[in-house]
């Protein structure tokens, strides 16, 4: 606490200005892990969607409900929304410098990712368990 004598900023104020000292590597790594997971998942997803072009609802539901599709779709949903949230966080941190606005936007993106990811996952489960 001795640097309080040479600076008017409180330790908390300085820490806020600098950001957390332990979160960056984890964020960076999670962005990479989700990116790697997304490569096969998205290639599989696009191929499946293409083969379902114009398919009637029962065929689409049967595809979603099959065990492999359901599990892969749930993995895709988790990976996409996690990756998107981490990525949008970086974009916001790069461009938005007003602390309050930044905090609100970061929370909104996190909330939206949870919400839409949850809705998507619930829809898959509902179809898979024949709701």
């Amino acid at each position: 606490m001795s640097d309080n004598t040479s600076s008017l900023r409180s330790p908390l104020g300085r820490a806020r200005g600098l950001g957390s000292a332990k979160d960056g590597t984890h964020h960076w790594w999670a962005q990479r892990v989700t990116a790697i997971a997304l490569i096969p998942l998205l290639l599989w997803f696009v191929a499946s969607i293409v083969s379902l072009a114009g398919a009637p609802l029962p065929a689409v539901q049967a595809w979603i409900a099959s065990p492999i599709s359901a599990v892969l779709l749930l993995s895709l949903i988790v990976a996409v929304f996690h990756h998107a949230q981490l990525g949008l966080q970086v974009v916001i941190e790069d461009y938005v410098h007003a602390e309050g606005v930044k905090l609100v936007l970061l929370l909104a993106v996190k909330g939206a990712a949870w919400l839409f990811g949850g809705i998507a996952a619930f829809s898959v489960l509902k179809i898979a368990f024949g709701g």
Binding site: I39, V46, A53, L88, F116, K126, I127
Partner: protein
């Protein structure tokens, strides 16, 4: 090192100048970088289309019919085409990023080549996906 720039800077070491954006043509590597960000943001929004599709499929015939009608409409097709192009670009360029992270391909010549390769992959994969999709559609 007394060139014009040094003299203009009052004899000091020349500082790097930032490009004058209105007259400066971005190198392909810079374009590919900002496009990665733009496609990442666009895909995040576009993924809501996926959510709509899943919700509609879970909801039943009426909801599924209206989402299918939207996707089949001109606006829907343009959005879906844009989503697929953005996806293949971001996927290809994401792999380029992962190679960099592993320490490969970071010299300018390679980075330029891989930027063009990603563009070619994105266009090619998108066209392939749509050609096959229309073939599937025509076969129904």
């Amino acid at each position: 090192m007394a060139n014009d720039q040094t003299r203009a800077a009052g004899g000091k070491r020349p500082r790097p100048l930032s490009p004058h954006l209105q007259v400066y043509r971005l190198p392909v590597t810079a374009l590919s970088s900002i496009t990665h960000r733009a496609t990442g943001v666009a895909l995040s929004v576009g993924t809501l289309l996926l959510v709509c599709w899943l919700v509609a499929a879970a909801n039943g015939p009426a909801a599924f019919a209206s989402v299918s009608a939207f996707i089949g409409s001109p606006i829907g097709m343009v959005l879906l085409f844009g989503w697929s192009l953005a996806l293949f670009y971001h996927l290809g360029n994401g792999i380029r990023h992962l190679f960099w992270d592993a320490g490969h391909g970071f010299d300018i010549a390679t980075a330029e080549k891989s930027a063009y390769a990603v563009i070619a992959f994105a266009v090619g994969a998108t066209l392939l996906a749509w050609i096959v999709a229309f073939a599937v559609l025509g076969g129904r």
